[in-house]
């Protein structure tokens, strides 16, 4: 049941992402669409514990979008979950909005911390997990990073710290879509695999199809209920631009809003009115 609900919500998120980016005239569709199923599984798959009417509930699980440029995915999830009205989504990036180009926690309920400068979210999540442990809180901390983001050295400072501190309640999910602004991650500047890296830092490492909703919910639920001391890394294999045929695996759709015609086509595809090109 959770799988169907999360699948339906993910579809709605994708429509919202396209609609709000079109309204904004700028933003990041590719990386928003690649992490949509991951975010939907957490919020709508029965994984995370949260209360939109009480966003500061001390027992809530925490979500940090380290790859802050995927803000439209987070905003769509938060609106659909009831943190704020869905109509507000089309104010994205406009003067006076609570929906800043990158998440601003001082403005929008449900955003735990402002992000946008890559490489910081995992450290914040590690500190948060350590702080929750001091309070004997059972809450879990989920951090969604990008695979390009893992080029930031600070990610590995955080990986060392989290393993050393045995922060088993910290769950890092790497939206591994294989692309970054300048091209393929493995052709820009890369060595080794994220699986090997996290494993060598002392993390439990899991791999999953980042668009298989049942598998995502199953894995996240297992990790949430795990009491092992090691932090957990999930390498989620995803497709940048997932769900919109002409955006899929296209590096050019990292940071560009769809025009009127492209928006119409994208929404038609998502609504199942046309077959994917």
């Amino acid at each position: 049941m959770n799988v169907q609900a999360a699948t339906d919500q993910a579809l709605q998120m994708r429509k919202n992402i396209i609609t709000m980016l079109h309204a904004a005239g700028s933003g990041h569709p590719g990386g928003s669409l690649s992490c949509t199923d991951i975010v939907s599984a957490l919020y709508f798959g029965g994984v995370m514990n949260y209360d939109p009417l009480n966003p500061d509930d001390p027992n809530r699980d925490r979500f940090i979008l380290a790859k802050g440029h995927a803000a439209p995915a987070l905003y769509a999830a938060l609106a659909q979950a009831g943190f704020f009205p869905e109509e507000e989504l089309t104010t994205l990036r406009k003067l006076g909005t609570r929906l800043q180009g990158h998440p601003d926690s001082t403005l929008l309920p449900g955003v735990e911390v402002s992000t946008g400068s890559l490489g910081q979210g995992l450290s914040i999540g590690a500190g948060l997990a350590a702080g929750l442990r001091l309070q004997k809180s059972p809450a879990r901390v989920f951090v969604v990073l990008g695979d390009g983001e893992c080029e930031e050295g600070q990610v590995w400072e955080a990986a060392t710290f989290a393993a050393f501190e045995k922060l088993g309640s910290l769950i890092a999910i790497v939206d591994t879509n294989g692309l970054q602004i300048d091209g393929q991650v493995d052709q820009v500047c890369a060595s080794g695999t994220l699986q090997d890296k996290f494993a060598s830092f002392g993390w439990e490492v899991y791999e999953v199809d980042g668009h298989d909703m049942a598998a995502l919910i199953d894995l996240f639920t297992t990790l949430k209920n795990s009491d092992t001391p090691a932090p957990k890394a999930v390498i989620a294999h995803t497709v940048k631009g997932k769900g919109v045929s002409f955006m899929e695996n296209q590096v050019g759709w990292h940071g560009k809003a769809p025009n009127d015609e492209q928006t119409e086509q994208a929404l038609a595809e998502l609504n199942g009115e046309v077959s994917r090109g």
Binding site: D104, S105, S114, Q120, I124, A126, G127, A130, G131, F161
Partner: protein
Amino acid sequence: MVKLASPEQSQEKKATRAAYGKTLAELAAEGLPIVAVDADLTGSTTTKAFAQAAPENEERLFNVGIAEQNMVDVAAGLSLAGNIAFTGSFAVFGTGRAYDQIRNTVAYSNLNVKIAPTHAGISVGPDGGSHQMLEDISLMRGLPRMKVLVPADYAAACSALRLAAKTPGPVYVRMGRASVPAVYAPDVELEVGRAYVLREGSDVSIIACGVEIAEANKAADLLAEEGISAEVIDAFSIKPLDAETIVASLEKTGCAVVAEEHSIYGGLGSAVSELCAQQCPMPLELVGMRDRFGKSGEFEELMEYFNLDSQALVQAVKRVLERKQH
């Protein structure tokens, strides 16, 4: 009038950094949810003293190793769980190495994180220019939401740390390694947004902070021998700056020397210049590091070498008095 050190107390010299671990331990003992995050300098910054002060403090000190960027964001995360998180390192790394973390996470999210590094300025001495942080006030002052406190002595540092803990949001407290004479009474309680007139005068205002307060006091004594009456003001809270106290002094004396163990770009000299230009234009002379890095040497030698000592202040006062007369 703020409580100043007695003549006997002012003979005592102590480094401002010595206040750090001890004051954190006191605040924790009072029931505040203090945590400290350090980067392999728990002895130098004295956070070790915090951890050792009580058994329950031990798990509240996090040593992230040599990883200052992680240090600041781990502190950010700890603050999100309801803690008052202090970060410490040498000022050069604690602010410069982690500037983006301080800007984009701590200040932009308005988190309850205190940036409280030690070893600021040339008072680090023999370690040389790589370790002598002379741009930190500038970096921190430029950040929205960040408050900037520069204690002049040990008692002021204790007070600054208490203020930091009790003031919601980001606060910068600049501490040093050099031993400095006591200026304030041991139990002094200073305030955010206040400057303190340490000595009244009528010919010139000397507005200073940190280790320059001791030099300003010495300079005022030397000037008095020549019949020049200098008012000495401790601009303890560089941001927010106490415009009222400073403008009142400037309007009384008609000129000022601003002194800091920091670059003249972006620090106290800039802050007072901005205020003066907008509210009471008059001659100012700036004493500080003039667009250069520090170098190895003993603290006192460097103060003289870089024209930051009391003699340099006396010369600056004479220059500004000359300009005032024309």
